[in-house]
Subunit: 158 residues, 3 copies
Amino acid sequence: MMAAIELRMQILALLDHYVDAIDNDDLEAWPDFFVDDCLYEIIPKENVDFDLPAPLIRCENKRMLRDRVISLRNANIYPPTTYRHIISGLRIVTEDADGVAFTANYAVFSTNVDGETRIYQTGRYIDRVKKIGDAWKFVEKRAVFDTSRVQTLLALPI
Amino acid sequence: MMAAIELRMQILALLDHYVDAIDNDDLEAWPDFFVDDCLYEIIPKENVDFDLPAPLIRCENKRMLRDRVISLRNANIYPPTTYRHIISGLRIVTEDADGVAFTANYAVFSTNVDGETRIYQTGRYIDRVKKIGDAWKFVEKRAVFDTSRVQTLLALPI
Amino acid sequence: MMAAIELRMQILALLDHYVDAIDNDDLEAWPDFFVDDCLYEIIPKENVDFDLPAPLIRCENKRMLRDRVISLRNANIYPPTTYRHIISGLRIVTEDADGVAFTANYAVFSTNVDGETRIYQTGRYIDRVKKIGDAWKFVEKRAVFDTSRVQTLLALPI
């Protein structure tokens, strides 16, 4: 039981830290939450439901994540949007020598320069993490979103 | 303290599991989160505030929950709506031989075929659970919702 | 590790209790979550970002919190708005003899008499708490909100 609580706390701490970097505009820290040969996807739920997993965003290693941050910084002279992530319902799916697989619900709210807050998207993380030294890192992170009317081309990470 | 943490973890795990079944369209699993002679209600906050507890939905045993799932499946050829539950603020109210009573805040978002995500309802669970063998089951589950403009006739469970 | 889990649980319990009082219209209990010489602020994120911290609401001690509750009760014959707080992403920042500093994301939903639920505001708590006897109390509570189109003059506490 104690080990289960400890694991849950560590995964929650990782997610909280991850979200904190995005919501507080520390995008440069974002790639370091991943291992080098990671997989990061933002993918519509309907594609997953119909087993046609064509992601809107797909990064196949940490270098691609770094490139994405550079694009975002260059495209946006001043970050016009604030994200606010709310995470709930963490479920550990498997735990083995390869790491830990888990899912969690998320809701992301965005506030633009007009000052109004909207639901940016809701969805579900389907993640796999591995412990590298003392730190948990994402091996795979899939944000499977419900909201199909979503602008992702120059959007912040989920 | 350890017992309190363990209990909290188990209640959270139950809620997370429950929500996961609804949000991922596993409605057939939903009745099994309850004991046979359960009470399940969806009820407007204003009714509770004025002590006129006329629920919109009231199921008085597990059979009625199963009937409800069948109705939902027959009414909806393809599930057109995705729910996404976010739960926060779990508070254990009482713990005794009869089980555990607790409350928690919830926000449920819905995404229709138009792909837009809306606030479906916010509210508060007022629940009672009992341990049956190794598993916690709902004896009573009341979803007291703030949002009175809510379509519940053929809505998914909350 | 055990001490960290225990601390986290206690801070979560405090936040859950605090939110519960506001969401369930127990405003009179609200000031008692603070020490006498507390600081309570509701402050726009853009002000914090530009280091111009002009808060919309600033209470410099518990007496001012009590005055605020009286104003709210006098201004509103019957509380027309229900708030629903969702909190996520608790992060302990420092822990020392002076207490514990932490941050957390929040989303507050409001339901007016029209029965529709809207995003009232999203934001981030930047808090400091201290243990007084057996109970944790807020020494400082800052609600830094993203949503600038917010009506705060006679709004409930965040």
